[in-house]
């Protein structure tokens, strides 16, 4: 009898969880790339602040509505500006950011090349 009630309650718990594994993975991936604006320096995924809890819920709902990852990022950048994304998008404000490592690499390469030629 005990065993049966255990099985039954487990079944109920399992059917209550309607999110598929894929949706949860996507939700985690997205929230890991979002900056928690209250607890700056933490991602929304890591944080348990009121804001982060709500934002996780919003992301979950948007995934359920069928929005893609990029559409969710776009939705949130309209609301909060690009700063909410950890991974900065490539645009005229971030050219310098994206190209600086490459420039430094080329510069260093040039120095080595010059030394070797000597």
């Amino acid at each position: 009898m005990r065993f049966l009630s255990f099985i039954l309650s487990m079944l109920i718990v399992l059917t209550l969880n309607t999110s598929s594994a894929e949706e949860i993975n996507l939700q985690n991936k997205i929230t890991k790339n979002l900056r928690c604006l209250i607890c700056q320096g933490q991602s929304v995924y890591d944080s348990d602040s009121e804001f982060a809890i709500s934002l996780k819920l919003v992301v979950k709902n948007k995934i359920k509505e069928g929005l893609t990852e990029d559409q969710i990022y776009e939705f949130l950048t309209i609301k909060y500006g690009e700063w909410i994304l950890y991974d900065p998008q490539f645009n005229k404000n971030t050219y310098f950011l994206w190209f600086l490592p490459l420039l430094i690499f080329l510069f260093g390469g040039a120095i080595i090349f010059k030394k070797l030629k000597k």
Binding site: L37, I38, Q40, E50, F51, I53, S54, L55, L57, V58, N61, T77, I78, K79, Y80, G81, W83, I84
Partner: protein, 171 residues
């Protein structure tokens, strides 16, 4: 000769870096995001007393100023700004709409009963998802709205200085 140039250049470089970092120490580490949200977002919410569903496009319809104030009974700065909001609610030109954020109904009701009700409508946001539609991230937060456009956004509690600013807009 070249050694001297290299030494002085390195010296200048380190002084330069030191000055930049030293000045950075006094900068505020709190960054407030700049929202690109210009007009009233589309949402629906349940009203506080009647439990009726209201749509955003039905709320900000009249040709007057609206002040949307996000508050909660557990938020202490909200208590501070409440008397200011009560004073402002006497102004006929502006309608104050409350947005009860992640609150317990009984506590919120007690808050309003004890301190007075400056709001013409109070909307409920039980899980905080509607505040995200507004690009808000905490309480209290206030939006000045005219013609379905967000004119000004106040993060944190209002004070008398900001109220004067709001009154200047209305004029």
């Amino acid at each position: 000769m070249t050694n001297k140039i290299i030494y002085s250049l390195t010296g200048i470089f380190f002084i330069f870096v030191f000055v930049i970092f030293y000045r950075g120490l006094s900068n505020s580490s709190l960054y407030t995001p700049t929202s690109n949200l210009k007009s009233v977002p589309e949402f629906s919410a349940i009203t506080f007393y009647e439990k009726k569903v209201l749509y955003s496009k039905d709320i900000f319809q009249q040709n007057k100023f609206y002040l949307l104030n996000i508050w909660a009974s557990w938020c202490l700065p909200c208590k501070d700004e409440h008397s200011i909001l009560l004073d402002l609610s006497k102004n006929e030109e502006i309608e104050i709409i409350g947005f009860n954020y992640k609150d317990n109904f009984n506590n919120a009701q007690k808050f309003i009963n004890d301190l007075g009700n400056p709001y013409s409508i109070i909307l409920l946001d039980r899980d905080g998802t509607k505040a995200i539609e507004w690009g808000a991230f905490g309480v209290p937060e206030t939006f000045l709205i005219y013609n379905n456009q967000i004119i000004r956004r106040f993060i944190g509690p209002l004070n008398t200085k900001l109220i004067i600013e709001i009154e200047n807009y209305i004029k």
